[in-house]
């Protein structure tokens, strides 16, 4: 199956700093999503980005499908950005629509 690797596993920032999270995947995909898991465990959708670049406020993401990686950029980080960020990929071969998740990046933003 598809392998998903996220880096770094842990990241500690001061409020206001910028950061880049990376997601590498091992095979062709036609779905890639970035999530933020809040302290209560809910997965919040950040981006649906199988290819290209998107921006939403202080967050942006880029996926280069041909090179099998995606980047999540967080600018001017805030303490509320803390939590785990997951990349998940999927391939609709046959009827299998499952997402395969990376292990996540634990982001801590200190005031």
């Amino acid at each position: 199956g598809i392998q998903v690797e996220q880096s770094p596993p842990d990241l500690i920032l001061q409020e206001g700093a910028n950061s880049t999270l990376r997601c590498n995947f091992s095979d062709s995909v036609n779905n890639l999503q970035w999530f933020h898991q809040n302290p209560w465990g809910q997965l919040i959708n950040l981006f649906y980005i199988p290819s290209g670049t998107k921006q939403n406020g202080r967050l942006s993401a880029t996926t280069v499908a041909t090179e099998r990686y995606s980047l999540l950029y967080i600018s001017s980080s805030q303490t509320t950005d803390s939590g785990v960020y997951f990349c998940a990929v999927g391939y609709s071969g046959g009827s299998n629509y499952k997402l395969t998740f990376g292990k996540g990046t634990l982001l801590t933003v200190n005031p």
Binding site: W40, Q42, L99
Partner: protein
């Protein structure tokens, strides 16, 4: 906005009990999914359904069954709960296009403890 709700945020059950976890989505999505999340193992797919009464096994279906009698509702059933089923359970839904793939939306999760 897509809304996926789960019947309980926290649940404590005894070994051997039959446990029902319910998930409801309000966006007329065809696909619904059940995942579990465990430290060190990440999120893994248990079962998914692409239509009423249809189901397919995911990566870890052993010890679980599912039911989908209505399009908006997908239930996960633990026939006889065991301590190794203590976990965070997450439900998700998405549109279905054959040969395509759509964004999945997740519910708030149910933290199940089996004692």
């Amino acid at each position: 906005d897509v809304k996926v709700t789960q019947s309980s945020r926290y649940l404590v059950k005894r070994t051997g009990e039959k446990v029902f976890l319910e998930c409801v989505q309000d966006m007329d999505h065809e696909n619904m999914f059940w995942y579990r999340q465990d430290p060190g193992l990440g999120l893994r797919l248990i079962y998914f359904s692409y239509d009423v009464k249809m189901k397919e096994k995911g990566d870890i279906p052993e010890g679980y069954s599912v039911s989908r009698e209505k399009k908006e509702r997908f239930s996960l059933i633990l026939e006889s709960a065991s301590t190794n089923q203590t976990s965070m359970y997450l439900c998700a839904s998405s549109l279905l296009t054959w040969g395509g793939f759509h964004e999945q939306y997740f519910g708030p999760g149910t933290r199940l403890t089996v004692t």
